[in-house]
């Protein structure tokens, strides 16, 4: 393929894509050029397919046949972000936003809306897009989308992810063309450096510097790697990029290859993401077929190809040296650094490794310029960040906001607040390596350095919201169970440290904790931070240290009062008799082996929690359901 052919392909479908990006009146005008009266975009990402969006597509196809509709295009896209309301379906040029679709709903929409002269079916629209006076608002105006700025996710939910022609029409591969024909490798690196882009995988290392070190390293063979082993449980932005716009990753890897002098790239992706793997493989074969990967790309003389490698469920393989060891076919254990990957990485050759979201930012930076990118965000954290909102929040989903956006904006405006009117207790960021943000920091501006300053970290962008029903000791234990399980066992501080800390936490949650356990935890944590081989062990104590810093009273309550204020830790629950329900039959008192129940006949009984051994005999014998565990 030549540059001219690329332009031709981009132009051929340009209007089709544009209809999905601009506001209604103009879109309606533009739609006339596309040959399609309407376009129906249905989310085919993991979230929506899990709630049966593919059956929605099948039903649409069936209804179209029955109704003789042949001028409406059905597009299976990647994630729209509002996963809580899936399956989601958007109809253009109106921009009508249907949520929680079922095949029956799809049939109704086809019959009433998609037929010629049809009208929007307001009752099936997402409620937030219908104003009180019945007017249908553009979905870009609802709070969930209004505060977002989509750069990495610009094409997710906009294009058919399995069609390279749509990707090209949406602008993919234009930055590669620009790099190959208008820029030297050094200029590419300078541009990425000037943009201020920092790695989105967790550590926040300046991307441009990484590229420069790899370019400067000695060696005739170099590699480009993509870390798509998204291991933080609760983060799913990398998956969504791969499902929604796989070509942007392939393109950016080729650009890096040109910049550092590499001709081969490896994408290491979780095997747990079958849709992402499938789309990635389709994208690579389509790119090879038309010559956007392979020899002499666009006639520039530059060769580059990309290969996919599947992970096999090891969290430590998200660490860069472990990831490379795994691609080499070994146990995914990390290596000591130095030497750094830029000098001695994959197959012992200089290697540049970036995370999926980082790659997704490269092409906009080259096309719009470093200055534009650096104008977004805060002083030391440029651009946008994608967060995976999860846990106790109404709008579970994927959001992309400028760096420095307040946590309160993300939770209350974009996220729609906490369900059932419960109180915000903390937000957890950075997954098993991160920490929690307590309610007093609800207005913190989210960027790399602010989060570190309060003992958490950005991590890959998982953001789990917790309400008053969440026990912070239990959550710390949950993460320690994870890291103890995932520790590869190579270095002692991590292997033994995670195990011992987990034992201490278990002891506390079971009501056997002593105050000095807290000192022991802190001491082990310090040793692990300073002497573990890789980031997994160095950061594994973070969830405990940050919950201890912000919720120490909760730990103390578990230890001293043997009480779990959130009512989560089972061993710490106490038995109570509801005086309103108790008839004073004395059955419980007679069956209590510990003599913990007192009370006169025909009046409400009481349990002495200090004597109670929690055997449950009283509940088993009570005929009035008057006894409960709290």
């Amino acid at each position: 393929m030549t540059c001219k052919e690329l332009e031709k392909r981009a132009a051929a479908n340009a209007d089709l894509i544009k209809v999905r990006r601009i506001i209604r009146e103009q879109a309606e005008e533009l739609a006339k050029n596309t040959g399609y009266r309407k376009q129906v975009l249905v989310c085919g990402g993991t979230g929506c397919t899990s709630s049966h969006s593919l059956q929605v597509i099948e039903q649409l196809e069936k209804s179209f046949k029955e109704l003789g509709i042949d001028d409406v295009l059905i597009v299976k896209t990647g994630c729209f972000g509002l996963c809580a309301l899936g399956p989601i379906m958007i109809v253009y040029p109106e921009g009508a936003f249907y949520s929680q679709m079922t095949p029956e709903h799809a049939k109704t929409v086809a019959e009433k809306h998609l037929v010629k002269g049809g009208q929007i079916v307001k009752e099936l629209l997402f409620k937030g897009t219908v104003a009180e006076n019945g007017e249908v608002l553009p979905f870009s105006e609802i709070p969930f989308y209004k505060h977002q700025m989509r750069i990495a996710l610009r094409n997710c939910g906009v294009i058919a992810a399995e069609d390279i022609n749509e990707a090209i029409a949406a602008g993919d591969y234009q930055a590669l063309k620009k790099a190959l024909f208008e820029m030297t490798p050094d200029e590419v690196i300078a541009e990425v450096k000037a943009s201020g882009l920092r790695g989105r995988g967790g550590a926040g290392f300046p991307t441009g510097l990484k590229w420069q070190f790899t370019k400067e390293a000695q060696g005739d063979v170099k590699y480009v790697c993509c870390n798509a082993d998204e291991g933080d449980p609760g983060a799913f932005m990398d998956r969504s990029v791969l499902e929604g716009d796989p070509h942007t990753v392939i393109e950016a890897m080729a650009i890096a290859g040109y910049a550092v002098g590499a001709h081969e790239g490896y994408i290491y992706v979780r095997a747990e993401y079958p849709i992402a793997v499938e789309r990635l493989k389709i994208a690579i074969s389509q790119a090879r077929e038309i010559g956007l990967l392979g020899k002499n790309i666009l006639g520039s003389g530059f060769d580059f190809d990309v290969f996919v490698r599947l992970g096999a469920g090891a969290f430590v393989c998200g660490e860069e040296t472990a990831l490379m060891t795994s691609i080499e076919g070994h146990r995914g254990e990390p290596r000591p650094r130095p030497p750094f990957s830029a000098q001695c990485g994959l197959f012992s050759k200089p290697t540049v490794l970036n995370n999926v979201e980082t790659w997704a930012n490269i092409s906009p930076i080259l096309l719009n310029g470093a200055k534009w990118y650096a104008s977004i965000g805060t002083e030391k954290s440029k651009g946008t960040k994608v967060f995976a909102l999860g846990g106790k929040i109404n709008n579970v989903g994927l959001v992309e906001v400028p760096m420095g956006t307040k946590l309160s904006t993300i939770i209350y405006e974009i996220g729609g607040g906490i369900p059932h009117g419960k109180k915000f207790k903390a937000a957890q960021t950075g997954g098993p390596s991160g920490g929690c943000i307590p309610a007093k920091y609800i207005d913190i501006e989210m960027d790399f350095d602010n989060l570190i300053s309060i003992g958490s970290m950005m991590g890959s962008g998982g953001l789990i919201v917790m309400d008053e029903d969440t026990c912070m000791v239990d959550i710390a234990k949950f993460y320690l169970e994870f890291t103890a399980d995932e520790s590869c066992g190579k270095c002692t501080p991590c292997r033994i440290g995670t195990k011992r800390m987990l034992e201490l936490l278990t002891k506390i949650t079971e009501g056997n904790g002593e105050m000095e356990d807290l000192d022991k935890i802190k001491e082990i944590a310090e040793h692990m931070k300073s002497s573990s081989l890789c980031a997994l062990g160095q950061s594994a104590p973070n969830p405990i240290l940050s919950t201890l810093a912000h919720f120490e009273d909760e730990y103390i309550e578990h230890i001293r009062d043997k009480h779990c204020p959130a009512g989560v830790c089972k061993s710490l629950m106490n038995y109570y008799i509801d005086p309103a329900k108790c008839r004073g039959c004395t059955l419980c008192a007679r069956n209590c082996p510990a003599g913990a129940i007192s009370g006169a006949v025909k009046s409400a009984h009481e349990i002495d929690v200090k004597k109670c051994i929690k055997c449950g005999q009283c509940i088993a014998h009570c005929k009035f359901g008057a006894i409960e565990k709290r």
Binding site: G86, G234, A271, R309, A312, E328, G329, I464
Partner: protein
């Protein structure tokens, strides 16, 4: 290793050897071969690891080392229906531990085991990425979302016929 006897067929072995041949010579080919072998047999018994070791010229100890390092590779056979309860953070804070406990109670097995009749095997996983549907349980390829412990028995019954 697996306590149930190995019941591999000739057809499976032919497929395995063909898979090895397509990857032979690739750098770091052990992982892709193990993925394919598990796809073919459902698990990686010592007999299968031995074939891979001999064909690729890699010591059996190394094959075993890799097969046991990664949680996705399993040395035990799985049930006809594979249940996986997500214990990722988003699911956990929404109570997936209670769902898991209910499945264990219903099937009389603990996580990681297979029922006597080999009908069900139960595992936990860390995030299938369907956090919008938390808590989530996956049976074979079907995802059940927004679950409560009370719905478990009904779901399992569907697979018992």
């Amino acid at each position: 290793m697996a306590n149930m006897s190995f019941e591999g067929t000739k057809e499976q072995e032919d497929r395995l050897r063909a898979a090895i041949n397509t990857h032979r010579g690739e750098r770091g080919c052990l992982m892709p071969v193990l993925h394919e072998a598990q796809e073919i047999y459902g698990y990686l018994p010592s007999e299968v690891q031995t074939i891979i070791a001999e064909e690729l010229g890699i010591p059996l100890a190394e094959v075993y080392g890799v097969a046991t390092f990664y949680s996705r590779f399993t040395l035990n056979p799985k049930g006809k229906h594979r249940i996986s309860v997500c214990l990722g953070t988003a699911c956990y804070v929404k109570g997936s531990d209670k769902v898991l406990a209910e499945v264990e109670k219903e099937l009389h097995i603990t996580c990681g085991e297979c029922t006597q009749d080999r009908l069900f095997s139960l595992d936990s996983c860390r995030c299938v990425g369907a956090c919008g549907l938390a808590p989530v349980m996956v049976v074979d390829d079907e995802v059940y979302g927004k679950l409560t412990a009370g719905e478990v028995a009904g779901i399992l019954a569907k697979y018992r016929d």
